[in-house]
Symmetry: C2
């Protein structure tokens, strides 16, 4: 992808595949299946990760914060793309806003709607893919483990 053009849906779907791999890895570990990855706009993978509430008893590690941490320290994020299997919660939306991440690719918004409209209003390009695999993976998990899901979003 070019550094100067909007991300195409085709390119966004390629990035989403990495986030979905992360979500499935989380599920295989017994965790909440939400995955994310941070890319440079040139396509370089900077960091990837998944929700680790169950695995590490860590309430602070959502998929997006895991990918962000695993990308290490950076001076700027305007040239970066955060791809996540689910609409980012307010915590992760705050991360996106504070660090001015240039683009966010959202796998699905059916199981949950967080702050993707809010980050868009503050200048982040937001691409929503309505990906059935993302929706089904998390939807099935929520149906089977509602207590974990509601704990993870603080409701």
């Amino acid at each position: 992808m070019s550094a100067n053009e909007p991300l195409t849906a085709v390119a966004a779907r390629e990035l989403l595949a990495v986030a979905l791999e992360e979500a499935r890895a989380g599920l295989a570990e017994g965790g909440i299946p939400i995955g994310a990855a941070l890319f440079h706009r040139d396509g370089t993978l900077l960091g990837r990760g998944h929700n680790r509430r169950v695995q590490d008893d860590d309430a602070s590690t959502h998929a997006e914060t895991a990918a962000f941490r695993n990308a290490g320290r950076r001076r700027h994020y305007v040239d970066c793309v955060m791809v996540t299997t689910l609409s980012p919660c307010w915590y992760c939306s705050g991360l996106i806003r504070q660090f001015q991440i240039g683009t966010v690719v959202v796998g699905e918004t059916e199981n949950f709607v967080g702050g993707h409209d809010w980050v868009a209003a503050h200048g982040t390009e937001v691409i929503i893919l309505d990906d059935p695999a993302c929706t089904e993976l998390l939807g099935r998990f929520i149906a089977g483990h509602p207590e974990l899901w509601y704990e993870d979003i603080g409701l």
Copy 2:
């Protein structure tokens, strides 16, 4: 402090002392001196921590997220108080909103203003203390290490 009454300024200053200890511990490690702690409203300390960008090369560990992580998994936060030496950035404000933390005590708002008004508008009790020790500690650090400060807030 009672579970049913607003936090008094005296009680808030007692909690702030713990966050300030954390900020000073971070400075002693060569890190960015911002500290936080999460308490139950009954005064029980649940978790405390400080910014660890420099120490761990971890961009995701702000003071508030460190305190939140160190408090472990909880089902609800409405009965909790997050105390932080600095106005919470959007990332940490998003954490407060998503998990509906009941009260936030802010040490100072001179060096930085994040989302404390926003979380107040969404139902969190916000107490601003204008504490000179917090302001001086971070202000001196910013003057000496502006590159670390601007990296930490993504500007």
